[in-house]
Symmetry: C2
Subunit: 189 residues, 2 copies
DNA sequence: TTACACATGTAACACGTTACATGATTTT
DNA sequence: AAAATCATGTAACGTGTTACATGTGTAA
């Protein structure tokens, strides 16, 4: 049920259309909570039915902008303050790590190098975003400060994953069972 | 499509029943890839139909243990080595951070303290597990070494999130717009 | 006038969760 | 004899993704 609250949260800033919200997911929230437009339009319809949002204006090419209602604002706040955080994670990259022993050492180090580079580049882009915010390039609204905190999480999380992959490169998995080394002092079979 | 590969990966170690696999998800993989038993039994049926696994034995209370086939083993390896990692993340805790500005400072610091404590405790349990593995308490198979690497990720990831929450506590969000401070030198209205 | 970005939506499918149902074996 | 655990499964529902369909306004 996080999508509806994310939509309410975005609409708490200012009115927006399904299209606008879809863009904001692609640009900002999608990194931690992806949502395609069909899901967004569907959820908006339900939110309107339940009076958490209402149509603010209708524009060209049948654009409909929604505004959050008092009821909707109360609902996001209720979610943020009284609903337990769902700490479920789904990280395919970590799932795979449980099966690293099925890869050859070469395949694994190749894989880990790619992963380290990927996470480092994502971390770098969050770092840059955080820097720009600190330099005041996006003004100083509370909304922007919240995104600054989110960017910090993005930086730290991706840096941690990159460092992990690099650490793992230095901890190779020993092959299943090395053929017993030949030792002439042992009695043969 | 990660569930099927996770099941194949587990079965690559040794044969197991749906029940066994369900337990291993709850105990180990569930932290990064949760799966309920209905999903597991369903996927096993499909994997058997496609000859990636086969029934190894039937036990008491109609227990059925599956064994991976050569075809199945080739399929996990193909996944691990040639299929791009899906880096999609879904972290509700980070999604929420984009809406921290909707909480009062008190609510937010309370929230962040809980989060820091939660992640630190999870990190601690991975740290302990990693220590036990390093002390050889689980033997020295390649499978165990892979899980050691996974435990390292669990430690680093959760530690990073805990540190982030602590960092955020020190970076409070300024309220929307403070009522302009009274300055007697300014002309009143 | 053609192409592109805007803007909304439906339909079908895939994936995941919850609730329900059943019965066998082991433990108390 | 009752309770707990083992073990499998179905049904209904909810969420998320992909493909398809449609049309408008703006810029080249």
């Amino acid at each position: 049920m996080s999508l509806r609250h994310a939509l309410l949260g975005l609409l708490a800033e200012h009115p927006a259309s399904g299209w606008d919200l879809s863009r904001r997911f692609d640009d900002v929230l999608g990194a931690v909570w992806p949502a395609g437009h069909p899901q967004i339009y569907g959820e908006l319809r339900r939110l309107e039915q339940e009076a958490f949002i209402e149509v603010e204006s209708e524009g060209p090419r049948r654009r409909k902008a929604y505004r959050i209602t008092d009821r909707g604002l109360a609902e996001v706040r209720r979610w943020l303050t009284t609903v337990e955080v769902d700490h479920t994670m789904r990280l395919e990259a970590l799932l795979r790590s449980a099966f690293f022993w099925l890869m050859t050492p070469d395949q694994l180090s190749d894989h880990l190098r790619r992963e380290a580079a990927y996470y480092e580049s994502v971390a770098a882009s969050y770092r840059q975003l955080a820097g720009a915010k600190d330099r005041g390039e996006f003004g100083h609204s509370p909304q922007m400060e919240a995104l600054r905190i989110a960017a910090e999480a993005g930086t730290r999380l991706n840096a941690a994953l990159s460092e992990w992959a690099t650490w793992a490169l230095a901890h190779p998995i020993s092959p299943p069972e090395p053929a017993a080394p030949f030792d002439p002092s042992e009695p043969g079979d």
